[in-house]
């Protein structure tokens, strides 16, 4: 009988759940059959999907890769895994983008930020209350490691400028602009477009407040240059940055990156 065990198709002689567990992972204490946790033994049928988990155990690199490969369309995982993405800024945009890409199983992230985690960041940035005062790049790296320890993370703690930007992101296949300050955004775009016109850039502008999320879009500005946001709503008194719209923009950016890595047009309707 063929069943899918922990996302891998296997042939087994086991006809019940407990027999399967005893044969493959006797220490498993959480048993999931076709998406539902079960406690009692039950017969298995052809094509059933079984996941066996030992609580608290961390899968090794090969197991993690098998899980992600199975989750993604064949061929997709390999391309994501071999990619390096640079993220300039680890605030509301950058922290969420990094987490989305890490969950996808991205090979390498280069994160850069000069800031530390402040209480006011917690309304939208992907940090925890026990990380207040830590450099954002250190806190983010720690959070990414908890999600997927096999993503390689290089961190730059400092201010990015015309001088260091090309070096910090020298290895990046794609760069994400995730700054807060508009002059920094402009500086990065000019710098990267001059230094690496052949390497895609995904920038963002306009995601403050709680207006409709439907005005946040991804558009192509030029060759290898994409812009996310509503392009008008600045962070200001009475129109602060809030988790939902910042998250929408961040995930537009992450999705644009994913599509670029998979050879799909970020603003087209093809699936790569």
């Amino acid at each position: 009988m063929n069943i899918r065990l922990n996302e891998q198709l296997i042939a087994t002689t086991a006809t019940t759940l407990f027999a399967l567990r005893d044969a493959h992972q006797p220490d498993a204490d959480v048993l999931i059959v076709n998406g539902f946790p079960v406690r009692a033994d039950q017969p298995l049928g052809e094509g059933d999907q079984v996941v066996l988990i030992k609580r608290g155990a961390v899968p090794d690199a090969a197991e993690m890769e098998a899980l992600l490969t199975a989750r993604h369309t064949p061929g997709v995982h390999q391309r994501i895994k071999s990619a390096t993405v640079g993220i300039a800024g680890a605030g509301g945009l950058g922290s969420a983008i990094a987490i989305a890409l890490a969950r996808c199983g991205i090979g390498r992230l280069i994160i850069a930020d000069f800031d530390v985690v402040e209480p006011s960041n917690l309304n939208r940035q992907q940090y925890f209350i026990d990380q207040l005062g830590l450099p954002k790049v250190d806190a983010l790296r720690a959070n990414l490691q908890r999600i997927n320890p096999f993503v390689k993370v290089a961190a730059f703690y400092g201010r990015l400028d015309h001088e260091n930007l090309p070096q910090v992101f020298a290895m990046a296949d794609v760069l994400v602009e995730a700054f807060d300050a508009p002059d920094q955004k402009a500086m990065l775009v000019e710098n990267w477009r001059k230094a690496h016109p052949e390497r895609p850039l995904v920038a963002a502008s306009g995601m403050a407040g709680f207006g409709t999320a439907n005005t946040i879009a991804t558009r192509r500005v030029g060759e290898n240059f994409y812009l996310v946001g509503d392009e008008t709503t600045a962070a200001a008194a009475g129109c602060g940055l809030m988790a939902p719209r910042v998250g929408v923009a961040a995930h537009h950016q992450a999705n644009a990156v994913l599509r670029l890595l998979l050879g799909a047009d970020p603003v087209g309707d093809n699936h790569g």
Binding site: G89, V189, S205, G206, G222, L241
Partner: protein, 66 residues
């Protein structure tokens, strides 16, 4: 002369520098990214770059937040 600004044709005076065009549109030159005929123009060249009839210009004006 006629130029295309962010996909729209507009009539502008001649001569016109990028810095003057930005001022006409109330755009802060430290917060923009400018591409002239698909070529990136650095901020330090805004004042010396003159536009020509038929030019195509893309100006991204960044707003704060991230």
């Amino acid at each position: 002369m006629k130029i295309t600004l962010n996909g729209k044709e507009i009539l502008v005076g001649n001569p016109l520098s990028i810095v003057a065009l930005l001022a006409e549109h109330d755009l802060d030159s430290t917060r923009v990214a400018v591409e002239l005929n698909r070529e990136v123009i650095c901020a330090n060249a805004f004042a010396t770059t003159l536009l020509s009839d038929g030019d195509s210009l893309e100006i991204i004006h960044f707003v704060g937040g991230g």
